[in-house]
Symmetry: C2
Subunit: 181 residues, 2 copies
């Protein structure tokens, strides 16, 4: 999902112009000269889990772009009609076919250059048998020593994994809050 | 910011149709029959603060719709190019003209029926003098007993305030994670 500029009004189909709206807003927005609609563009959320089984964590090898063939935690775009936790659980089912119990919110990471916020929950696996969907080539458990750090798809995944294994050593899981530029 | 259905393609201006895309997606999306663009609709984030001064909290009386004249914590839509914390700080400057230091993430609340996620940070006020912007009629400090509970603009604000005052009594501030349907 890339962010190309808005060219046409989604309400009436007229060509929009980027300008300051008339309501005191200080940011350039796509404004429709025909129907006067103002179209806002905002960051979107990616929601996922850190599914764990003993000293191992579940990663999925991506069968889709971007980062085809790289390893990720199960995660995807939050949808309308669901909470952040429901979206994280849905993605874990869709991408890994895992059985699990949702736990606490574990990381909240703003990824500024792509206009995203990534939220990961810990999830306790109830089985080590997986049934990945079409987005996943392979779903596999990794110990910390086995994590393919150079083959991780996204920075928020490697950051979240590092925090997970560090917290696991202390037995205290915190909330990890960061920004990536 | 309401969610009307997408009628026209923002890339080429053609009328869209809602259908299943061809990539295995299981949700109806606005698909452009002319240029084949798929337009996703996702929840957006509202970011704000709980600005506190001794045993008081700062609320802003809204000078804009929705909920004109009701009281709110300073908060607004997260923008592209900023982190959740930066957006929360920006809104606190814009709506209250407050001087403060940002603290920890305090509440994360999915508001499912409007497709929003609200994130509030605690913020320590450095002054009890405010300079509210045009969106705010009045910025004022309230003790717990003074909070106008029946005049609070949004449910996530009253929930966050309740958690704040409860945690303040224990001296331990947690992360409060909820869904509102």
């Amino acid at each position: 999902m890339h962010r190309s500029p808005i060219k046409f009004c989604k309400d009436c189909g007229a060509a929009v112009v980027y300008r300051l709206p008339d309501d005191g807003d200080t940011k350039l927005r796509a404004v429709c000269p025909a129907c006067h609609a103002v179209h806002y563009e905002n960051p979107i959320n990616v929601v996922g889990t850190v599914p764990h089984w003993g000293d191992k964590v579940l990663l999925c090898k991506r069968n889709i772009e971007p980062r085809f063939g790289k390893w990720t935690l199960p995660a995807g775009f939050m949808e309308l009609g669901e909470s952040t936790a429901e979206g994280a659980a849905r993605e874990t089912v869709e991408e890994a076919g895992a059985q699990f119990e949702m736990q606490e919110l574990f990381s909240v990471m703003s990824v500024i250059h792509v206009g995203q916020v990534h939220l990961y929950y810990r999830a306790e696996l109830l089985s080590d048998v997986f049934d990945p969907g079409f987005e996943t080539i392979e779903a596999r458990l990794f110990t910390e020593a086995e994590i393919p750090w150079d083959e991780i798809a996204f920075r928020t995944v490697s950051q979240t994994l590092k925090h997970y294994f560090a917290d696991r050593k202390t037995g205290q899981f915190g909330l990890h809050h960061e920004s990536l530029v």
